[in-house]
């Protein structure tokens, strides 16, 4: 019953009645959420929070596309435009994608490994509620004197030194969000390493738990690096230091090195859990075990390790020595090897399976197809001479939206449709799921595919106005963006709201015929407490016996 906000709506159906211990044992009303220590409630909070931020970031994206619909300035001035691009990036990365995956982790990791809850329940509460003031600071920066930060989400010095007071608010918000992420990561690592049900060895763990374990280590390694970079920016701004301020002998390029040492692993922080979700869904709907489980784990770990030695491929145009360029070019290209292994493993899982295409599988296949396009453009960008042409153009914008929207976001939608019945206890309408999928897939490509051409033809990113030759592709992208936005509004009203209200056909314990894993060993919706006593597992660690 945990994800159902409206208790009267979700009551009394079928198989959960006997397991529903929640009434009378836990706080009701607002206390249930403010004092939440239950991993399922906190997971729900994370998911709803990130969806709210996704909508805010999406509105900013639509403001950008509105201004770029035609050449010339029609609606906003260039300063506002820069605020939109900056805040769109910050809100989507730190407010939407990262917390959404933490939400998935909170809900699913204890269920998948047979643990009763997360290891540190109160820290879990704190790490969620810390995000609220941080998000408010970020969003309210539009109303501060001088407007929101407008230095790009990468916050490059020394442009950040020219920003108004909202920059300090932004830096503080990043610090708080970083602290929240680190707490979340510690919680996930400790939970996974200490609280697995007896018999579930690491190499029997579900892939989603594996990818999150590795992601959590990445987060702990790099969030402090970001905190360092923005703290130095802060002291440069107010306390007369000159870490990055060239006027005092500082080095603006050092900022970029430090930022991207965080920023590149961050890219994988945002995609590895997505790989995990896809690795759960593809076998379930192929009715076949995941191909190459071991190599999947090693590929994930290799991607994580390689992600630490490729950061300067974001900086080819800063002018680095030839040996540096060659090193970062070859190292970056190497990442496509383990990434390729993952794609091949998914295909081999599908190969000679017995596939059905319910909504989660559609999203998963859509993910593999479109994400791979983003992977190939990444390979093209990794080639230093080509990247000199593409750096800071719309090609890069296209590339990272193919991996972050068609990658991370599509995988999250896949996850919502796959595990949603377990959260809410109701089945999601297949028709609605399919409308959402096909609508999003088409409008996504209408929005971002033309950006490749804009970039090749040299249109720089973060431009409020552009030469007339770019007009048609920009108009097309803007139309696509509006459509994509509307698809997500549809998703909210026709999928999320019914789930929250518990409206729909009651979900059986295992709505997907061939899904495997401990999460399908508990009733739908998952009762307030699960696995209070460690379950006894069979040899594959996917079923509870006795």
């Amino acid at each position: 019953m945990s994800a159902v906000l409206d208790h009267t709506g979700g009551h009394g159906h079928g198989n959960d009645a006997g397991h529903d211990h929640d009434h009378g044992h836990h706080p009701h009303g607002w206390r249930r959420w403010v004092f939440a220590t239950n991993h399922k409630d906190i997971g729900t909070l994370y998911l709803l929070f990130s969806f709210a931020m996704f909508i805010i970031g999406g509105i900013l994206a639509l403001c950008i596309r509105l201004e770029l619909f035609q050449p010339g300035l029609q609606y906003f001035n260039p300063e506002q435009f820069n605020q939109f691009t900056t805040m769109h990036g910050l809100i989507m990365v730190f407010g939407a994608i990262m917390p959404a995956f933490v939400g998935f982790a909170n809900w699913m990791i204890p269920l998948q490994i047979g643990a009763s809850d997360m290891a540190f329940a109160r820290m879990n509460n704190l790490s969620f509620w810390l995000m609220i003031p941080a998000a408010l600071t970020l969003v309210s920066s539009f109303f501060m004197p001088g407007g929101a930060p407008a230095a790009g989400w990468t916050l490059y010095a020394p442009l950040t030194l020219q920003m108004g007071p909202s920059m300090d608010g932004g830096i503080f918000a990043m610090h708080v969000l970083g602290a929240s992420s680190i707490m979340g990561s510690i919680n996930i690592i400790v939970t996974i390493l200490n609280m697995r049900a007896p018999g579930m060895t690491l190499m029997k763990m579900p892939m989603f738990a594996w990818t999150w374990l590795i992601t959590a280590y990445l987060l702990i390694a790099v969030m402090p690096v970001l905190a360092g970079a923005i703290t130095m920016t802060l002291t440069d701004r107010h306390f007369g230091t000159s870490f990055f301020n060239p006027a005092g002998g500082g080095d603006p390029i050092m900022y970029q090195h430090v930022f991207w040492f965080f920023g590149h692993p961050e890219v994988y922080i945002m995609i590895l859990p997505a790989f995990g979700i896809i690795s759960q869904i593809v076998p379930a709907f192929s009715r076949k075990k995941l191909f190459g489980y071991t190599s999947m784990v090693y590929a994930t770990a290799s991607i994580a390790i390689l992600s630490f030695i490729v950061w300067a491929h974001h900086m080819y145009a800063t002018g680095m020595p030839v040996t540096g360029q060659l090193f970062f070019m070859y190292a970056t290209m190497l990442i496509s090897v383990p990434t390729g292994v993952k794609v091949f493993n998914w295909l081999a899982t599908m190969w000679r399976g017995s596939m059905t295409f319910e909504t989660p599988m559609l999203w998963a296949v859509g993910f593999i197809f479109v994400f791979t396009m983003g992977g190939f453009t990444g390979l093209i960008c990794s080639m230093a001479p080509i990247d000199i042409q593409l750096q800071d153009t719309y090609y890069v914008v296209a590339h990272f939206h193919y991996v972050l929207v068609a990658g991370s976001l599509f995988a999250m939608f896949a996850g919502v449709y796959y595990w949603g019945p377990k959260w809410s206890g109701v089945l999601i309408s297949e028709t609605r799921g399919k409308i959402h999928f096909w609508g999003s897939l088409i409008t996504f490509n209408v929005t971002f595919f033309p950006m490749h051409f804009l970039g090749l033809a040299g249109m720089p990113r973060r431009y409020a106005d552009y030469p007339m030759q770019f007009a048609d592709f920009n108009a097309l992208a803007s139309v696509g963006a509006l459509g994509f936005g509307l698809c997500q509004v549809y998703f909210f009203f026709f999928v999320v709201v019914p789930m929250l209200r518990g409206k729909g056909e009651p979900a059986p314990q295992k709505p997907w015929e061939a899904a495997e894993g401990l999460e399908w060993e508990v009733p739908s919706p998952a009762p307030w407490h699960t696995f209070e006593n460690p379950p006894k597992l069979d040899a594959t660690a996917t079923k509870v016996i006795g």
Binding site: L159, Q162, P246, V337, I380, I386, D392, G458, D465, P467
Partner: protein
């Protein structure tokens, strides 16, 4: 070998012809636009036509990569879609039971490894060539300012030429008005950089305030201009013409309005241009010792103001958004008339006001005098160039 990749844009164009035609109806604004030689083409699907050997190499590398990626993509997803069609439950396909194969897994690790290493090898020669800035015929230092480019010819024919290059003011106003017009919209500058054809030009980049990036796609050149540091890059244009680029690193509010225009002239044409520039510079040189009358200095100052200050502070001196109004400003009206000169010389980085040290003493004196006596400011103050010289020396 080099012919095969060229089929790529042809194939792409053909497959996109229909959608491109459909799009023409979408944005009427673009109806009247033509391709801009040396700049972007209408609905261009490819890099600008190369004007240097490096740019041709880069274009070839990109075609090669597109072909390799397309072949892999079609092969991999051919397998996936075959499987999706054939191996479905609704067709009665029973699931097989295999879930690992060491041989296959090693193969699809090794083969991609070899492919990407080969890709790297393909690009290595170009990486090295792009970095070789030795033996230049002409060296030009380009400085990024918010929001214009400064060019200083520091070695080779034309040594000593120095000018500032700014976006055409009329185009900037068209942008604000939301009525864009012209094939070179947002790409036209008052003073383009000029180089001779066939000469190796070394560009040294730096910046005055924040990071900018000097980029000309036809030359395959993009080099960040970093304040406090110098970097270099090079190009050797192989044909005459005008080539366009735009600042490619976010540098604040007017980032979209600091284009780059490079004119490549014949050897003789270049020499003639150099002579003209030298004459112009001699004529323009101001004597900072000259004592000016207030009317003349105000008239001169208005020109300096409109060329440099009006972008932010606006022609009516009211400023906009975070940019302060000069009309009625305490600093401008200050009894200590040198307070404003100090701001002009040093900037107010905290408020986004850059330093204007690069203007000469007469220009600074003129613009200060103008603002002190324009709009509702009637101070009657007169700042002589000599006073700026003194302030600069402090």
């Amino acid at each position: 070998m080099k012919m095969i990749p060229k089929l790529w844009p042809v194939a792409l164009r053909a497959s996109l012809a229909a959608s491109a035609a459909a799009m023409t109806g979408l944005a009427h604004a673009a109806d009247a636009v033509n391709n801009l030689p040396g700049g972007p083409g209408v609905r261009d699907l490819d890099f600008h036509a190369p004007a240097t050997a490096i740019a041709a190499d880069v274009q070839w590398l990109h075609y090669a990569m597109m072909w390799i990626c397309t072949v892999i993509f079609v092969a991999v997803f051919g397998v996936m879609f075959y499987s999706i069609i054939k191996h479905r439950k609704s067709r009665g396909h029973q699931a097989a039971h295999f879930h690992e194969s060491v041989a296959v897994e090693i193969a699809w690790t090794i083969v991609p490894f070899i492919i990407v290493t080969a890709m790297g090898a393909m690009a290595t020669k170009t990486v090295v060539a792009m970095k070789d800035t030795t033996n230049a015929d002409i060296t030009i230092k380009v400085t990024g300012y918010q929001w214009k480019w400064g060019y200083d010819y520091i070695k080779g024919e034309g040594e000593g030429i120095s000018f500032i290059s700014t976006l055409d003011t009329a185009q900037r106003n068209l942008s604000d008005a939301g009525t864009p017009k012209g094939d070179d919209y947002l790409l036209k500058v008052d003073n383009p950089m000029v180089v001779p054809v066939g000469a190796k030009v070394r560009m040294i980049t730096t910046a005055n305030d924040v990071i900018h990036s000097w980029s000309v796609p036809s030359f395959s050149v993009k080099q960040d201009a970093i304040p406090g540091f110098v970097r270099d890059t090079w190009f050797k244009a192989e044909r005459e013409g005008t080539f366009y680029g735009q600042c490619s690193e976010l540098c604040g509010k007017e980032h979209a309005y600091m284009p780059i225009t490079v004119i490549v002239k014949s050897k003789e044409g270049y020499s003639a241009w150099v002579n003209d520039q030298k004459k112009l510079m001699a004529a323009k040189a101001d004597d900072p010792a000259k004592v000016w009358k207030i009317e003349d200095l105000v008239a001169r100052g208005e020109k300096v103001y409109n060329a440099n200050c009006a972008v932010c502070h606006k022609p009516d001196g009211k400023g906009a958004g975070p940019v302060k109004a000069l009309d009625g400003s305490a600093v401008v009206l200050d009894a200590d008339k040198m307070a404003q000169v100090a701001v002009l010389l040093n900037g107010r980085m905290d408020k986004g006001m850059p330093s204007w040290k690069s203007l000469n003493d007469t220009e600074l004196a003129a613009v200060a005098t103008y603002t002190k006596n324009a709009w509702s400011n009637h101070t009657g103050f007169l700042v002589q160039p000599a006073e700026v010289v003194a302030a600069r020396a402090k």
